[in-house]
């Protein structure tokens, strides 16, 4: 029955989904803002800063391998997956490990999300809530960094005017911009606000804090180990921490990155979802 299928889709969505981190690093590099050096502050338009950050995150065509280490109290699960993206709104992920999940694939094309279950031999279309749902039971979701949802769903302002100086990873001092994002009326987001800390020189995000509607941080993303190539910056390490539950964390590592790889459009079709990208 169709209603039954819809419910299966919804149920599957609730436990699976999303790619975010895949496209996030895929985004690493790219667009006009990423051509050459990032423009230092001071910035007067927070929306322009956010746009530049997102432009910087969305990379050009990219292939690589992701490793998700999903940590839970007393156990940890590792997923390995191949991904390919056009650096815009399309991406394809195929899980290659562990064996019980191997063969599953996810296709993202704008607002459309598809899941392919190799055991069933069927593809399912998933609702947009997948963009903010947990991917493979991890703490990572598509909306964590990727796509333009932040521009659509939030109004942005400087949490602190101008740039401030903070300690860098190398022990130096770097200029940091802090943005505060507040949900627009009716936007499909359950968060009360999002705070983004951005390295001013390169417009790459250092960390993001997601707040609930009671002023508490419920999730934190920390991006680091940026791989720089031809003006693009791809974070090779992303740590997502569930701040509501002790011991819940996901560590995402990027490897075998091929920037500027040839990515034909046929990679983002239902046929490619089921058979693979040529």
């Amino acid at each position: 029955m169709k209603a039954t299928r819809s419910r299966v889709v919804v149920t599957v969505l609730g436990s699976l989904l999303v790619l975010a981190s895949v496209l996030a690093p895929a985004a690493g590099g790219l667009s006009a803002a990423a051509q050459g050096e990032a423009q230092p502050g001071p910035y007067e338009d927070p929306a322009a800063v956010l746009e530049a950050v997102l432009d910087n995150l969305r990379g050009g065509p990219l292939r690589g391998t992701y490793t998700f280490l999903v940590e839970r109290p007393g156990r940890a699960t590792e997923y390995v997956m191949e991904f390919v993206t056009d650096g815009e709104e399309r991406g394809l992920i195929r899980i290659i490990a562990p064996p019980r999940e191997a063969g599953q694939a996810f296709l993202m094309d704008g607002d459309d999300l598809w899941l392919y279950n190799a055991r069933l031999g069927r593809s399912l279309r998933l609702p947009p809530s997948g963009r903010s749902s947990a991917f493979l039971g991890s703490d990572v979701s598509y909306n964590d960094i990727v796509g333009r949802d932040m521009e659509k769903d939030y109004t942005v302002a400087f949490a602190v005017p101008g740039a401030t100086q903070t300690a860098g990873a190398a022990g130096d001092t770097i200029d940091t911009i802090v943005l505060e994002l507040t949900p627009r009326q009716g936007a499909p987001t359950p968060y009360g606000r999002v705070i983004i800390s951005i390295e001013a020189a390169t417009l790459t995000p250092q960390w993001l804090d997601y707040y609930d509607q009671r002023g508490r941080v419920v999730k934190r993303l920390v991006l680091s180990e940026y791989l720089e190539s031809a003006g693009r910056r791809v974070p090779q390490l992303m740590v997502v921490e569930d701040r509501t539950r002790e011991g819940y964390r996901t560590v995402v590592r990027l490897a075998d990155v091929q920037m500027g790889a040839a990515v034909p459009g046929s990679c983002f079709t239902l046929q490619a979802l089921e058979r693979g990208c040529p």
């Binding site: 999300l113 809530s129 936007a187 609930d212």
Partner: protein
């Protein structure tokens, strides 16, 4: 010269009845005892059926006002597969419904599966999009909003008490409802306007109610999946049949009794069992009355012997005993009727039984049981209890009456 002794003519019936009536008050204690037994049996019979019928009606009424509706109109395909794709093609017939006899209100609804997301939890839910104003007449849920208020317009959502607790959502906070239907993947942020606490597990654990316009945006359904009618209780089947003539092909109206699904089987099975149990109870009740009369006859052996010696034929003694039992039973029955119907009215007016079923409701969430369970009041209960008493009187005639009819006056007068 001797005169032939002719037996005295039997006394006419009226004096026998007067004698029986006087005998009742000559043995006041015995009479009162039998009166109490009969009144109690009558009272119990009425209360029993008040509960049985009231329980079944309460379940169906609760189902109609909390989960479904008294009368539902939907596409035949939707009844088979309640997917938004099987929505009503057009709503032109709704205007005609307003003039249909028995229809008090018609309310549009859209039912669809969705994901409900808070900042902490995501879960699958069944959402209902409603017209807030019309829903007040049709459903009891608007009156059961325990926190916040009922829907005032688009952009809001009402959650069941348990739903809100599970996703940890509070009044004024925003949650995300996502669906994928005719309009493709859609998602909306909705503010929690109210939290309903109905006492019906099926509602408190699953209710997610949005404005009809939001439901249309989320699903792409331009009309509705169902049109639900508010009608007087007890007229659901008749109104459904009546409005069917106004509906286009492929669309059906069904009364709540057709919508309750497996609950109908349970209610009907309970009723059959109630009848079986009632017969057993009736039999014991009749035996109790007859045995009381029997003991009375046993204790009055000498008295009956004197009466026989005074000229009442033995056969008439049997009639006398039966009349005494009849008078006592009728008095007790009338008294029991008064008490029984008073209790039934009380149960039908005040929610005495509801809290008793609170625990049962939680254990059977799909049953539609609520914390409101009322008794029923029907004239037929007088007939049920009267039947019991009639059987008791018959037993009295068969056993104690026949014993009295076979009394030997001389032997009886010597009894202790």
């Amino acid at each position: 010269m001797t005169e032939t002794t002719r037996p005295l003519a039997p006394p006419p019936a009226a004096p026998l009845a007067r004698l029986a009536w006087r005998n009742l008050w000559r043995h006041r204690q015995r009479t009162i005892l039998l009166l109490v037994v009969v009144a109690y049996v009558t009272f119990l019979t009425i209360v029993y059926w008040s509960f049985v019928d009231g329980y079944g009606e309460s379940v169906v009424e609760s189902y109609a006002r909390y989960i479904a509706s008294p009368v539902r109109i939907a596409a035949d395909a939707w009844y088979e597969d309640p997917d938004p794709e099987n929505h009503l093609g057009d709503l032109a017939f709704v205007e005609e419904l307003a003039g249909a006899s028995g229809v008090r209100e018609a309310s549009l609804r859209i039912h669809f599966p969705a994901l409900l997301q808070s900042a902490y939890v995501t879960q699958g839910v069944e959402v209902v999009g409603v017209d807030p104003a019309a829903e007040r007449a049709l459903s009891r849920i608007p009156a059961k909003v325990a926190q916040g208020r009922w829907l005032a317009g688009p952009g809001e959502v009402i959650l069941g008490d348990e739903v809100a607790r599970r996703i940890d959502a509070r009044i004024g906070e925003q949650v995300v409802v996502s669906a994928a239907s005719l309009a493709g993947p859609q998602a909306m942020g909705l503010r929690v306007a109210g939290i309903a606490r109905t006492g019906v597990a099926a509602v408190d654990q699953t209710a997610v109610i949005v404005h009809l316009e939001d439901a249309r945006r989320l699903t792409g359904v331009p009309t509705a999946t169902t049109v639900d009618l508010d009608v007087v209780r007890g007229t659901e089947a008749a109104v459904a049949q009546r409005v069917q003539a106004l509906l286009p092909a492929g669309v059906s109206a069904r009364g709540v009794w057709e919508l309750v699904g497996p609950i109908k089987t349970d209610v009907e099975a309970n009723r059959v069992f109630a009848h079986v149990l009632a017969v057993v109870v009736y039999a014991f009740a009749a035996l109790a009355v007859a045995s009381t009369v029997f003991v009375s006859v046993m204790e009055r052996t000498r008295e009956l012997g004197v009466i026989a010696a005074l000229g009442v034929a033995p056969r008439r003694l049997g009639v006398l005993v039966t009349l005494e039992a009849l008078f006592t039973c009728v008095l007790g029955w009338v008294g029991g009727l008064g008490l029984g119907y008073a209790a039934a009215w009380f149960l039908a007016t005040y929610n005495i039984l509801g809290p008793v079923f609170g625990a049962v409701s939680a254990g059977v969430p799909t049953a539609g049981l609520s914390e409101e369970v009322y008794g029923a009041v029907r004239a037929a209960y007088a007939a049920y209890s009267g039947l019991v008493i009639a059987v008791a009187v018959v037993f009295s005639a068969l056993v104690p009456g026949r014993r009295a009819a076979r009394l030997q006056p001389a032997t009886a007068m010597r009894a202790d």
